[in-house]
């Protein structure tokens, strides 16, 4: 039986998280010397008074340094996420951390999927789940998710073309009871929405879980509201849950509530929006950089991370679930310097 993870009001959550995160901070300082050196150089307190006072790491640090809190021989999996610049985050998981992250992901998604495994459409091709030692972000996303479904349909063929006949067949077998759809936001739009619309398919029993951001859809003027409106109007699909998460905090997802339009934090996680000038917490309604907090990372010091995403908190304890309601509204551009390096990248483009 899954227990609900969207239960704690903000004050109670902050009190609980503060204690747990202080403990984790001490654990990582003992077991990850580079992390300890960073906190020592920052003069970090051992018992910060509030969540906002906890020292954060820039998430990109996992691309430039190896940060692990377990010995190499206990690492059973190294997750990687590639960035646009070719640098790759490396996230080290031991057995316990790997188990915890998948269990907590299941509990979080259970809030909208229910306790049973549902028939599942993956808007991707099966080959995306490849090497089991080192997963790509796209593979890890799909692999983590496939466990929540059964009777999987991988919608795309080897050339990334949607298999319409197979989709119709899936819907004929499973389409009149709840089924799960998973995919990256832009792929769901490009490969599922358009196919469903053009073929008049009925997705009204579907529960869509998607992630990946809106950047690739911006040129088509599709934002979250438009995405939901058109799916509902053209396919009957209304149970849509966007989520926000990253490989550097694997297992923690911030999930869009049933009412749509805002992300919620599970009980073991929180967000803080920071003003990038003062670095203090920004008030409700004011955009800033998204800091993500989670108690899940135990094998690497990823509990408190400053992302390069821009977000805004819409309200606290005033939505479908308790805690903060927020959106991610964009991403910082990559900082570029005018220096004299890198003049001629001959042959690269």
């Amino acid at each position: 039986m899954l227990t609900d993870v969207f239960t704690l009001a903000q004050a109670e959550k902050e009190e609980r998280l503060r204690g747990e995160l202080i403990g984790l901070m001490a654990h990582h300082r003992r077991n990850c010397p580079p992390y300890d050196r960073i906190l020592a150089a920052l003069g970090a307190e051992t018992e910060p008074a509030t969540l906002a006072d906890l020292p954060w790491l820039p998430v990109r640090l996992f691309k430039t340094r190896k940060l692990a809190s377990v010995p190499d021989d206990e690492v059973i999996r190294v997750l990687t996420s590639s960035g646009t610049t070719g640098q790759v985050s490396r996230i080290h998981l031991d057995r316990e951390a790997a188990a915890t992250q998948s269990r907590m992901l299941a509990r979080t998604l259970g809030a909208v999927l229910g306790p049973r495994r549902l028939p599942m459409i993956v808007v991707d091709r099966s080959g995306v789940v490849g090497d089991r030692r080192s997963y790509s972000a796209r593979g890890a996303g799909a692999l983590g998710m496939v466990n929540f479904g059964r009777d999987h349909l991988w919608l795309l063929d080897a050339d990334d073309r949607p298999d319409v006949a197979a989709l119709k067949d899936f819907l004929a077998r499973h389409g009149d009871a709840p089924f799960l759809i998973f995919g990256f936001t832009f792929m769901v739009w490009r490969y599922l929405y358009e196919v469903a619309r053009d073929h008049g398919l009925d997705l009204s029993q579907g529960i869509l879980v998607h992630s990946g951001g809106w950047k690739k859809l911006a040129d088509q003027a599709v934002d979250n509201a438009e995405f939901r409106r058109r799916f509902a109007a053209d396919s009957g699909l209304t149970r849509i849950h966007n989520f926000y998460g990253m490989v550097e905090q694997i297992g923690t997802v911030f999930l869009e509530g049933p009412e749509g339009g805002a992300l919620y934090c599970p009980d073991f996680a929180d967000v803080i929006i920071r003003d990038p000038e003062t670095w203090r917490e920004a008030p409700v309604g004011t955009p800033g950089l998204v800091e993500v907090l989670s108690t899940l990372p135990t094998s690497y010091p990823g509990n408190v991370l400053l992302t390069e995403d821009v977000g805004v908190v819409h309200g606290v304890d005033d939505g479908h679930w308790p805690g903060k309601r927020f959106s991610v509204v964009g991403r910082l551009p990559r900082a570029e310097a005018r220096g004299c390096s890198d003049t001629y990248a001959g042959g690269r483009s």
């Binding site: 580079p34 992390y35 050196r37 960073i38 150089a41 920052l42 003069g43 790491l57 820039p58 990109r60 640090l61 430039t64 340094r65 940060l67 990038p276 000038e277 670095w279 950089l289 400053l306 390069e308 910082l332 551009p333 990559r334 900082a335 310097a337 005018r338 220096g339 004299c340 390096s341 890198d342 003049t343 001629y344 990248a345 001959g346 042959g347 690269r348 483009s349």
Partner: protein, 416 residues
Amino acid sequence: MTVRMRFPTGPELPVDEVLPATAQGDPGSVRDGSPLAVGDERIVDFLTRVSRRLLAPALARRHPELGSLGFFLRRRELLRAVERLRAALDPQTLAFPRGVVFHIPPANVDTVFVYSWALAALAGNTNVVRISPRSAAAADTILEVLNESLTEADPVVARTQRMVTYGHDDAVTAHFSARCDVRVVWGGDGAVNAVRRHPLAPAARDLTFPDRSSFAALSVAGWEVATPAARRDAVLGFVNDAYWFDQAACSSPRAVFLVGDADRAEAVRAEFVGLLGVAARERGWEVDAAMAVEKRVGAYGLAADGGVAAMAFPDNLVAALDLRTPAAAPRHWLGTGTFGFVTVPDLAELVPFVRRRDQTLTHFGFEADELREFARQLAGRGIDRIVPFGAALRFAPVWDGYDLFREFVRLVTVDA
């Protein structure tokens, strides 16, 4: 295969037609006028006109960075460079242009191409300069000035001086590489290595200006005896050195060595950092959110490696890292306005730390003899220039250990 002609401005041109026929192994066919000589009056005249335009008040207001270029190209400066070369040669030795010089300057430091090109032109060479398609506004302004100045110039200038733009087209780079006598490559180590894949003619040579690192030295005693005004001026100079190219220029200081008594250095450092923030803000420099995060990534990474005892981010403009040893000083860019600080008892302590890639040491508060003694101790193993605060970015004809003008001529000896 074509390139866009930026100077003399014109339409796309096939690469075969960029270089004049005389420059391509056919020295006999000098059709119009005599070939260029070292210090040729026609080039001096042209560069002087360019200098005057760059120093015109309206332009200097729009692009203050072009002012120093304007000074560099003044007639007196040009003649001095020629004179210096002549004086160094014995009577049996004659200097001539090397032939064709192919310049590949950096895209993002907008003015550096003019310096190496102007010296090569002054030496009488035919030049091809690749202007990056990513070049900034100042580069466009310079090209406008060059083209305007062309109308009054001798036709030999347009015939022998070529500036072109093309994308990352290896074939074009290969074409000019095979046909030049000297290739001048600026940029990161990767850029230099990429260009080097294209062979030169057997007798041709490369002048490379790869990644370098630079530092500042601040005398504790020198600071203490300086007047408040002198301290402020020093900080303003340092701000210029550091922030002009987002601290990413090769000659921008990445760390400050406080030289002197460790106890007294604390107060000096605190005052310096304080003034630094004020001066950077007054000068209008800004560090946006993306750069502020970049600095955290850079500084935290250095701290993770050890060697950073403490780091402080009083605001986004200035990050101060307290280094445990000189060896912890960052040689790579960590984001605009990120400075390591470490105290050493005297300059000699820095000697074991210096490497080949170290380029500029900016200084404040030292005696000339101290600096010269330090240079002698370094013995050329690294640090090619030692200049006052504020002069880090000022281009000089001797750069990265090369006397550029000298590199652009060939010597013929006549022993009668």
